[in-house]
């Protein structure tokens, strides 16, 4: 069997696995609706949604203290954020 032809057997992921999803509200390529379906299927995951943002490739640090702090603590202190949190996105660039 070619594993790549099926969905991942996510039931095998440990219940205490350390997974953090960062998701822009209006991401065009991986829309929020898709991310939420995966998040709902992974009770061990945390998700931080970025309101009003549509950037697909969220670069870190992003510029929001709550998001950047949570990601830093996630890697450096093994601290998982709450199951679901929402942060404000950056405004679009100023124009003259």
């Amino acid at each position: 069997m070619n594993h790549c032809s099926d969905f991942p057997p996510i039931e095998r992921i440990p219940s205490d696995a350390s997974i953090l999803i960062v998701q822009a509200e209006y991401d065009p390529y991986t829309p929020l609706e898709s991310a939420v379906k995966t998040f709902a299927a992974l009770p061990q995951a945390s998700m931080i949604a970025i309101k009003e943002e549509y950037q697909h490739l969220i670069l870190l640090p992003y510029g929001n203290d709550d998001l950047d702090g949570s990601v830093a603590e996630f890697f450096l202190e093994q601290k998982k954020p709450p199951s679901l949190s929402v942060v404000e996105g950056n405004p679009l660039p100023l124009v003259p």
């Binding site: 991942p8 095998r12 696995a17 350390s18 999803i21 898709s34 995966t38």
Partner: protein, 250 residues
Amino acid sequence: MDVIRQVLGDEKLNFIGISYGTWLGIWYASLFPDRVGNMLLIGQTDVTAPLNEALLLQEMGMQRVLEKKLVPYAASHPRFFHLGATESEVMSAISAIAGKLKHATIKALDQHISFSMNAHLALFTLRSALVIDSFLAQNPVADPDRLHQFLDDFHWDVPPEYQELLAGIARELTQKYFDLVNAKPESVNLVGSDAVWWAVQGMDANTLHDADSWALQSTLQAECYPQFGGFYATNPVLFWDESLFRLPPH
């Protein structure tokens, strides 16, 4: 991925996956549950459905960025973007772009539609399309040189530091448009990143290999998402005789 973990000498894999990388990350966590470290997944793909279903959602996602973010942004800066002073004016202007110019414009927009820091470049692309459209309306048999000359002389009415940027975007769009107009039918060229893209689309959990289903889906998408819908009709997987492998029964 697990080879890399071993080479690094790490007991567990700490991983940052972006976009398709999130799909790979979830696969790793599923196949190597004892070796999952901290996993940051940015722009999460749907791992609960076939990948082609997730890809079809992208057309909705791009249309939503246009309508929810870019159009209001344009309307709030009418003297900079010159696309209209209200959202309905902007949408109406954009909707006038049709045919091969629309196709070329949407392809050009694809470079900017997922980068919010480049929102102005997306709108410059649409402005360029409208200027090109007005030229083509008056010069239906125009050649690229005449159009380039027109664009070089065009007064974009933007601050001087943006003039050349806009003109460059317009020249690039002109090239894409004429490439499309002059394109000859050719075989799908499966090299480089295109090979990876079509391999992922055609073989990685693609469940839809029936051309009629694709055509129907594309028609619906084109109706629902007027600027971005329907482009998957060009998927070469449609023209393969059969799937390269079949999903196991559930």
